[in-house]
Symmetry: C2
Subunit: 126 residues, 2 copies
DNA sequence: ATTCGTTATATCTTATTGAATATAACGATC
DNA sequence: GATCGTTATATTCAATAAGATATAACGAAT
């Protein structure tokens, strides 16, 4: 079967023709998922707000879940990605480390290339 | 910061250096996930065994879950991907449609290209 | 008619996940 | 030392997902 024949057939499989190739990427360490889209957004918001609490609220994520996520990241990572401080002028706060900034930057680039890949693959379906 | 500098820094983030880029791909229809790695394997096993039941067992998946998965696929798809028959010489059985075979073939090709993509991205971390 | 293994379905239980709430510790500022 | 908003943690409740079990219907073969 030729390639365009097959693509046409697949296109006909769904009633509504809005077919799309999509996916998700992450960085693994020791076989365990380490860094995906969720953490990236959370770290970015911590950088922006200076607070786990506020970052979680902006993501409509519970503080507990955000904290557990960060705790995992920090435990899996050699050096902590989020530096927290309790007490102080405005009750404390959090900042992200240089490593975290690098991870964010890397993942951003990765996503750009991945988007391109997904677009190309979606094109093959049309 | 130059690219190799950053990659080196990221490599140092995890204590154990076994960093890897990984991910998952699927085909979406109408914004809803339609066809991922799980269904592919199940369909392949149905093709191989001629039975939802046996396919599910080989995947260590409950029959219920397998059936629901297939039911979803058949409902979302214009033409059914799995054709079932009840009763008969050996109690019945199931076969996959031509469309299913095409989807499997397409997804297989897709995964090959995706593996290459992942390998390239993993290489950037080393 | 009986047997067979399968599909199809319902029900119940269990496990996992997530949300919600409460509270202690913290330390700079006033 | 009282206040403040935050981190850190435990506990409880709700919702969702997964698993286990049971059973009817089916139809070819015997």
């Amino acid at each position: 079967m030729k390639s365009n024949e097959m693509d046409k057939a697949i296109k006909d499989i769904l009633a509504n023709g809005a077919l799309k190739v999509n996916g998700s990427l992450w960085v693994e360490g020791n076989g365990k998922r380490f860094f995906g889209p969720g953490p990236v957004e959370l770290l970015e918001l911590i950088q922006e707000t200076g607070s786990i609490n506020q970052a979680a609220k902006k993501m409509k994520m519970s503080y507990k879940k955000a904290w557990e996520l960060i705790n995992n990241l920090n435990n899996m990572s050699g050096s902590p990605l989020v530096i927290t401080s309790t007490g102080g002028d405005n009750g404390g706060g959090s900042a992200i480390s240089e490593e975290a900034r690098q991870l964010i930057a890397y993942h951003r680039e990765l996503r750009v290339r991945f988007s391109k890949f997904l677009e190309e693959e979606t094109q093959r379906l049309k």
